[in-house]
């Protein structure tokens, strides 16, 4: 089943002569439980693509369907709800809220949704992410790898339709990078969590089921390497 459908997505920044076509008529689908890596050089439009899928930006034209529902047909307020329920975002620079501790950062989307935190899931994630004993730490008391694990925990907490990760290892050393990729891989396998990971590192991309290569705002390659 198509979990995610991207059709004719175009994003143009600026106007007139200075207009930049960041995405140019991009279409693809992602199946439920699939682990997709999007690769491309700097400025190829892969981050733009991720933000459009995640509902934090609006396309110039085209559609994104998540579970058959058009993301951009929603109002801003609905979009916020969509983000907190259906999307988990992981950034290169972790982007944790500095005044919130580990568990608060992880459960922020649940709290924003006004729901009660599922203690079993939280406990399971803490164990899986190796953050036991660090529940009350503030981000600045954690290492980079630990911070990224908190960010992944936040993305997974709501069991979203899709987890979108933007260069999740870009800021980490090799050991930490491997560990983070393994976590994402495990989540995909164990929870059947759909994943879209942006990277420019071919080695990391090889951990995925499928690699989509983007260049100059267009898909230049789409190959399944596993399954």
């Amino acid at each position: 089943m198509d979990m995610l459908t991207v059709s004719h997505l175009t994003k143009i920044y600026g106007e007139g002569a200075t207009a930049t076509r960041a995405l140019d008529d991009v279409s693809f689908t992602v199946q439920e439980g699939e682990f997709v890596a999007i690769v491309g050089s700097s400025g190829s439009g892969k981050s733009t693509l991720l933000h459009l899928i995640g509902g934090v930006d609006r396309p110039t034209s085209g559609h994104v369907l998540l579970n058959g529902i058009d993301v951009y047909a929603r109002s801003d307020e609905e979009l916020a709800v969509f983000r907190r329920r259906e999307v988990g975002l992981v950034y290169q620079f972790y982007n944790l809220v500095p005044v919130l501790n580990v568990v608060e950062n992880m459960t922020l989307p649940v709290a924003l949704d006004g729901r009660v935190v599922n203690q079993d899931r939280l406990g399971g994630l803490l164990d899986r992410l190796g953050l036991r004993g660090r529940e009350g730490h503030l981000p600045r008391q954690l290492s980079g790898g630990q911070q990224q694990r908190v960010a992944i925990g936040r993305a997974l907490m709501n069991a979203p339709a899709v987890v979108l990760a933007d260069e999740p290892t870009g800021n980490l050393d090799t050991a930490n990078s491997r560990e983070i990729m393994q976590l994402l891989r495990d989540s995909n396998r164990d929870f059947g969590q759909t994943m879209v990971v942006i990277t420019h590192d071919e080695e990391i991309a090889l951990a995925a089921d499928r690699i989509i290569a983007v260049e100059d705002g267009r898909i230049v390659r789409d190959e399944r390497i596993r399954r």
Partner: protein, 1024 residues
């Protein structure tokens, strides 16, 4: 241009709004300081001008007996540059005046011979004619033209001249040392006392005041020993009284080139100096140039020259200025500091980048310092220009009014810019900028390269925040129990509360600027409230009409002895008050026959005299009505009357302790020193008709009927306010006369007797006034039991809420109003009533019309009245009201300008801190929004944070501003006692409202900026 300079300039350009706000802050600060200092220098310049016009430019007066020695020293000093100019004034004897002339000119005609530029140095200017130019010419005081037979330019004045000689007072022996008493405390202070030994027969020079043992408490009187006669030609008159012309023994006449034998007594040199900057320097030069001479300094002038600053008024002025200056400086420092702190904080990443590519700490500090320099270089000159321009515009608009207020209308209030003031304003502003930059620059230089590059904003959480975060780790309690904020504002509120508890800055900057805004606005408010009170107090209640003529005849057996002396003489009495009714006039005992005097006869004589005076005043009114341009309003007579008032009628004012005008007597009724107003019949009838009564009921001579005024304006012990004096109708008894051992008593004082038979109470104490040639008379109290008294019942038919227009203002005690027709038969004990006539005058001419009216009244009384005039004057109500309005306008304009400028600073500060505080956190907001924070939740979070900032800012702000208000109040009340301290609640409300609006606008703008930011862009800000 090196890389750092380029970088700084580029960053200033890139942040146009912030750069402009910062420069605007510097401009405002410099402008405000310049304006305050320029107002001060302009005021000083005006007062200096006024002082030189009034007293001349002399800086010191040196006295000497030998003129030649003095002149030689002066010449030498002038050659040596110690003094700049000198003029001389030499005693030339004292002219003898006829007794009548002494009333106008003082005991003698003091003759003074001048040389040098007396016009500039001593401000001696002819108002008519010219200064004497050769021997035998004289310039007289202006009064000589009109007083007595009159004198014109060209007339000849022949006057016996002699010397003043000390004579021992009767029964006294010995000698005394007479220390110089400055003629006018505000004008002159002695460097050292000149002491003269005075003995019988000592010749007195002009440095010794008029000797009168009875008045000055000494043992000598003086007399004039005439030695000859001189004849002068009058060549001019002067009408301003400069210091040199004003002496206790009479107005001075000025002559010149007198022969040496006429120049006896003291010689004075008036000198000016150049290049002195302190009182001590002036003193030192005088001591060097004129060793061992007695000298006095022109302190008034030195003060305005900036050489000396002290005195009561200046203390008030300076303490107000000091409070304002501190407030302004704090405001400016905060504004500029915030702007720079934010500018640096916003660019932490940039500094990290610069540091990573090899910029040293020193270079980073210099980058910030350069930014400060550029801002100051643009802001300070602009601020000086704005400040001077603002002052020029304000003075141009208000100059004439200001000059009038300071009594220097002919000088005018002009812009006077002092270089030192500009230097101080510029220096202070620059120092403010430097200080504001120091801390951010230091912080910038210590930026951790890695943190800055990683955009690691985790530093935002405080240490205590980490401990709190650790405690909040229990998963079961997650996102719960955070009180009211969570319930009202939802998750947004919870986030706000967490941020507040754990954040390092806690919106401190915003709270501080909010507190400051409140302080600034309340300072402006307090200032205008207190100054407003000052102008209101200065205004006071007004009488009907534009001008009033006031007159009183003198009692026919004594020339002085008013009620006040009676009160003083009551001595032991608390709250004693003399009775105006008490002059010993109209006392039939003066008649030759020895029939025993009866009370009836005393009353009858007083009534008769009163009726006579009323008839004269009635005619005077008819005459005054014909004065051109004077539109008659009405007239009345009034006088003090001791009243016995039943308890049921008196208001609370007399029941309170410490009432000044009476209180409960032993028998339960009240002794009140009231007043009775005889109002012209037509006006009285109108009042009666207005009260809904029949005028005809009030004109029966057999039963005096009156209207009472219910309220009085008086001091209740703390503040001036309206007091209840009369609450009900009824009959009061007017105490019309008293008889003691066959003689009429002079009057009654109301006094509290603490040892009275019934445990104390008020009573009327009769007193007699004994005319005694030796010491001017005295009063002695009599035992009420020995005095037979007469009373007249007066029925108070109605109690009015306020005094009728023609009666004008509220009295200070019970006021009864009766028709003038009653005056033909009843004096109610009043001897020599006060005549008050009111007129309207064409706008702006009330003063002239008033003078005409007084002239007309004077002529009429002189020609027609059988009584001696004790008192004749005019009140220029319209003129007073106009000048009060001018004062109020000036005060209001200044307060408004001050308020507006402070409000601008306050608002700019709030805007700066709040918006920047939000913008600095936009990445954080973006993160939250990317994980699903909705706009509504975002707004709730920000609003909740704002409420917290406001709460933290407003409370200390209000407390601090109360302290500032109190300081201002202490400054103002230093020159005005009885001013109550009041919290300017209206301004508190206004300050709250304005601050709320400023916060609202700032937050709206800040949120707009945050939202306008693409989340994607905001999230990418983590890189440089």
């Amino acid at each position: 241009m090196n890389a750092m300079t380029t970088f700084t300039i580029k960053s200033l350009r890139a942040n146009k709004v912030r750069t402009l706000v910062t420069i605007a802050g510097v401009v405002l600060a410099a402008a405000l300081l310049t304006a305050v200092l320029t107002s001060y220098t302009s005021l000083q310049a005006m007062l200096y001008e006024a002082e030189t016009r009034m007293a001349g430019t002399w800086m010191a007066e040196v006295q000497a007996d030998d003129f030649d020695g003095l002149a030689a020293q002066a010449q030498e000093a002038e050659a040596a540059g110690q003094i700049a100019d000198v003029a001389y004034l030499r005693d030339a004897g004292f002219g003898e005046l006829a007794e009548e002339q002494q009333n106008y000119f003082g005991p003698y005609l003091r003759l003074a011979d001048f040389s040098g530029d007396i016009e500039t140095l001593c401000s001696l200017r002819p108002s008519e004619g010219r200064l004497p130019e050769k021997a035998g010419e004289i310039m007289l005081f202006d009064t000589w033209r009109t007083a007595g037979d009159g004198m014109e330019v060209g007339d000849t004045l022949t006057v016996p001249v002699g010397e003043r000689v000390a004579v021992l007072a009767p029964g006294r022996t010995g000698s005394m040392v007479h220390g110089e008493v400055p003629a006018n405390g505000g004008f002159v202070g002695g460097m050292e006392a000149a002491e003269d030994e005075i003995a019988e027969g000592t010749v007195l020079d002009s440095s010794i005041g008029y000797l009168d043992a009875a008045l000055d408490g000494g043992i000598f009187n003086e007399e004039l020993r005439v030695t000859g006669e001189r004849t002068y030609t009058v060549v001019g008159f002067y009408d301003n009284i400069p210091y040199v012309a004003s002496h206790g023994f009479g107005m001075t006449a000025f002559t010149c080139d007198s022969p040496d034998d006429e120049l006896t007594g003291l010689n004075r040199a008036y000198v000016t100096m150049a290049g002195v900057d302190s009182t001590a320097a002036v003193e030192q030069r005088i001591e060097e140039a004129f060793p061992d001479r007695y000298a006095e300094l022109h302190l008034g002038l030195l003060r305005y020259m900036g050489v000396r600053t002290d005195g009561a008024i200046w203390d008030t002025f300076f303490s107000i200025a000091a409070v304002l200056a501190v407030v302004i400086i704090v405001a400016c420092v905060s504004l500029i500091y915030n702007a720079f702190a934010i500018s640096v904080a916003e660019r932490t990443g940039q500094f990290g980048l610069l540091a990573s590519v090899g910029a040293s700490r020193r270079q980073l500090r210099r980058a910030v310092a350069l930014e400060a320099f550029i801002v100051a270089a643009i802001g300070v000159p602009l601020g000086l220009a704005v400040g001077i321009g603002g002052c020029a515009a304000t003075f141009a608009a208000l100059g004439p009014s200001l000059a009038t207020i300071f009594g220097a209308a002919e000088v005018g209030f002009n812009l006077s810019v002092a270089p030192w003031a500009l230097a101080v304003a510029a220096g202070l502003t620059a120092a403010t900028v430097l200080f504001s930059v120091f801390v951010p620059a230091w912080r910038a230089s210590r930026v951790n390269v890695i943190d800055a590059l990683r955009g690691n904003q985790s530093a935002r959480a405080s240490k205590r925040g980490a401990a709190r975060a650790a405690r909040a780790a229990n998963p079961a309690k997650l996102w719960r129990g955070r009180g009211i904020a969570g319930r009202v504002f939802g998750v947004g509120g919870l986030l706000a509360r967490i941020n507040e508890k754990r954040g390092a800055s806690k919106g401190m900057a915003a709270s501080v600027s909010l507190a400051l805004a409140i302080v600034l606005l309340m300072t402006a408010g307090s200032l205008s409230t207190f100054l407003g009170t000052l102008t209101k107090v200065a205004g006071g209640p007004a009488d009907a009409g534009d001008v009033g003529v006031v007159a009183m005849f003198a009692g026919d057996t004594t020339s002085s002895g008013d009620g006040a002396e009676g009160a003083d003489a009551a001595g032991n009495a608390i709250g004693a008050e003399g009775a105006d009714a008490g002059a010993a006039g109209a006392n039939p005992a003066a008649s030759a026959d020895n029939e025993p005097l009866t009370l009836e006869a005393v009353v009858a004589a007083r009534d008769a005299r009163f009726a006579e005076e009323v008839a004269v005043y009635g005619k005077a009114w008819e005459v005054l009505k014909t004065t051109p341009d004077a539109e008659p309003v009405g007239w009345r007579l009034d006088g003090g009357v001791p009243l016995i008032v039943p308890e049921a009628m008196v208001g609370d004012a007399f029941k309170a302790d410490g009432a000044l005008h009476g209180g409960r007597m032993a028998d339960g009724s009240f002794a009140v020193m009231g007043s009775v107003v005889y109002l012209e019949d037509a006006a009285f009838d109108r009042c009666v008709a207005d009260a809904g009564l029949n005028p005809a009921d009030f004109h029966d001579p057999a039963t005096p009927r009156a209207l009472g005024v219910g309220k009085a304006y008086g001091n209740n012990g703390a503040v001036y306010e309206l007091l209840d004096v009369l609450t009900a109708t009824g009959t009061v008894q007017a105490l019309t006369a008293g008889l003691y051992e066959g003689e009429a008593v002079s009057g009654f004082a109301v006094a509290y007797e603490s040892d009275g038979a019934n445990g104390g109470g008020f009573e009327f104490v009769p007193y007699v006034f004994e005319a005694d040639g030796a010491d001017g008379g005295m009063t002695s109290n009599l035992d009420p039991a020995d005095v037979e008294t007469a009373t007249t019942p007066v029925e108070v038919v109605a109690v009015l809420d306020e005094a009728p227009e023609l009666v004008g203002m509220y009295g200070e005690s019970v006021q009864l109003i009766v028709p003038m027709s009653l005056a033909a038969t009843h004096s109610l004990g009043i001897v020599d009533p006060t005549f008050r006539a009111s007129f309207d005058a064409p706008e702006g001419r009330s003063g002239e019309v008033g003078d005409d009216l007084v002239d007309a009244a004077g002529t009429f009384f002189h020609d027609e009245a059988p009584f001696e005039v004790a008192f004749l004057a005019m009140n220029d109500y319209a003129g007073d009201a106009a000048s009060n309005q001018t004062l109020a306008m000036v005060v209001n304009v200044f307060c408004l300008l001050f308020t507006v400028i402070l409000a601008l600073i306050a608002m700019a500060n709030v805007f700066n801190t709040v918006t920047n505080g939000l913008i600095l956190r936009r990445r954080e907001f973006a993160v939250m929004r990317s994980v699903g924070l909705s706009n509504r939740q975002f707004r709730a979070m920000i609003v909740d944070e704002c409420v917290a900032w406001c709460a933290r800012g407003l409370v200390p702000g209000v407390l601090l501003s109360l302290a500032v208000s109190w300081l201002l109040w202490s400054a103002v009340s230093g020159s005005l006692s009885g001013l109550p301290f009041a919290v300017p609640w209206a301004y508190v409300a206004l300050a709250f409202a304005m601050t709320a609006v400023a916060v609202g606008i700032s937050v709206a703008y800040g949120m707009h900026r945050c939202k306008a930011d693409n989340v994607v862009e905001a999230l990418r800000m983590d890189s440089v």
